[in-house]
Symmetry: C2
Subunit: 352 residues, 2 copies
């Protein structure tokens, strides 16, 4: 039983996770979209294998060290996209080792990164597949215009040691139309230069059920969809019953009639607001707000009597599941209220 | 040189840390206040030993697992206060093991916790020292009034297996007057019942240089003071030159004239705003704001041209040092621009 788990703890319901994975896979299959889940949410080789079992064609990682951890942990992970500008000799040497092991691809949004990749990979055996990252409105990384995408695609195609592999974007929410417009223009311009565009990849859980509205996209990279979280419930993307990840916490103090303190703070729930007010949703208690976190204390407040007792346990859906996973060395796998196993978070804390 | 460190990375300048530790120790020595640093900031046995060398009488931890990690790592750590309500058989059994090894004390702010401690420690050999946690205005944990403090102190003093050890508070910023008032009244009332109050402990770096304004306090528990951070600079508690911890990051993209992206996101800097606007201070560039973080991307914006180039490295003072330390498996010890060693963060992620 979960009553035997020491708190605070991060619980993951395996059946719910599988159901979430299969739901999007069915949608993607129905629309001819390949699925390449982002492992940042779970950081677990077993979950990646579950996604492959459901029909995913490979995985997405954000950092070289994440890819290293996942590839080392599972022989079934053989196709990895790292959606990051990779810079510096140390990282490039690590990247080359991974490129020898699996089908690897990376992205670039500027000439310095492309030239750095080429300088390294022109000296090693196998060419590296590189996509151009495009800014379709999220205003993070990415070339700003289709013309810039063409220029960078040509640079990659001409660079010793590199192979141009397509276009990548992390779009804004509800960005399907913007993706379709940018990518169509970029693809046509690149193909007009005689360069093939084998793959166009987009991502993001919030708008994933509208992925087919950008039919030019060949691959989709959802991350949070496997667990869901409070931000996705707030967007109407899922219900509380679809949230596979919860934080189990114990009430350690009820110092006032409308205030209680739990043993989960920012070291478990994190300070990510992710557009929400408060730091999570107490399951079954929508009247309670988690209004303040210290590192090891969460403060719960209510309008009326809070009605909690010291020692009582609660389950919380965090604002943002991915960052919570990164806080803990292990997650507790559960089946409803039944404890199944503790799993080490294999790719936790991999920031380089 | 720090140029050989892979980014992102958390750098700690040992000389600056020592200077910060010695500065407060000198103040406390001058006012007859004992120092019991909170290890949550550094989570490193060596830093605790440095604090003991400077004159600290012991350490503070927030969770049992933190105390376990620190005690296991250093034979010199022999006096530990855990400032937390500890609940549940598993944690109590672990606590009893620590109580056999070192001079240990914990806190309680309610009868359920006291009764739980007593039920366990009445069956083991050595009594457990318990302080009453008092709410002096921070409105987190703590009994609300001196009268409640007396009641709980009497309960502890009468409980088999427990020894009443004094009063503890985590005060609000600039709370010295409130601490003095609450603690004086509580101490007088408790002593009037014939119970000695051997120790009164307060804490918090922001107001530590005013600790002597609550002369009833016998011990002070600063945490962040060893490293300092942007929140403390903003409060006027220190300058940038006193910040011993910085995040080293690489510019990976400059997609617009006034925008750059670095390889440190919320998995390094965390989303803690801690009362600030933006997610950290770029050393030497007060004109830049870190306005948005994803897990692995930090977005830097400026009013005019940002003037950064892809591949360039920057150092950032984070909003809150303690939470940044908890994100990484190791910190890079530096001496100015010289790399000294990588140290594993021994008590990282200890949440139970």
């Amino acid at each position: 039983m979960t009553s035997r788990i020491e708190t605070p703890a991060v619980l993951v319901d395996l059946d719910l996770a599988r159901r979430n994975v299969e739901k999007f896979q069915a949608y993607a299959d129905g629309h001819g979209i390949r699925v390449r889940p982002h492992i940042k949410t779970h950081k677990l080789p077993y979950m990646a294998e579950m996604q492959l079992d459901a029909g995913a064609i490979g995985i997405t990682c954000q950092k070289v060290s994440e890819a290293e951890a996942m590839i080392a942990a599972s022989e079934r992970i053989t196709d990895v996209l790292i959606t990051y500008n990779i810079i510096g000799e140390a990282k490039l040497a690590r990247l080359a080792k991974l490129n020898d092991k699996v089908k690897l691809s990376v992205v670039a949004d500027n000439a310095v990164v492309v030239d750095g990749l080429s300088a390294h990979f022109s000296k090693v055996g196998k060419p590296l597949a590189v996509l151009v990252e495009c800014n379709t409105g999220a205003n993070r990384c990415g070339v700003s215009t289709p013309d810039e995408a063409v220029e960078l695609a040509r640079r990659i195609a001409a660079a010793p040691g590199l192979a141009f592999a397509g276009l990548m974007t992390y779009p804004p929410v509800n960005g399907a139309a913007a993706v379709q417009q940018f990518m169509s223009k970029a693809r046509d311009l690149i193909e007009a230069k005689g360069i093939a565009v084998p793959m166009i990849t987009s991502g993001g859980t919030p708008s994933m059920m509208d992925a087919a509205e950008a039919p030019i996209v060949t691959e989709y990279r959802p991350g949070t969809y496997i667990y869901n979280d409070r931000s996705l419930v707030a967007r109407g993307a899922c219900g509380w019953e679809d949230c596979a990840l919860t934080v189990l916490a114990t009430v350690v103090s009820v110092p006032a009639p409308n205030r209680a303190i739990i043993d989960a703070g920012s070291k478990t729930l994190t300070s990510d607001l992710f557009g929400q007010t408060g730091y999570g949703h107490v399951l079954g208690r929508p009247d309670i707000s988690i209004d303040q976190l210290s590192e090891e204390h969460g403060r719960l407040v209510s309008q009326g009597e809070i009605g909690l007792t010291v020692g009582q346990r609660i389950r919380i859906v965090p604002n943002h599941a991915c960052v919570v996973v990164n806080m803990v060395d292990e997650v507790q796998i559960v089946h409803g209220e039944e404890f199944v196993a503790a799993w080490p978070v294999v790719a936790r804390g991999r920031i380089t």
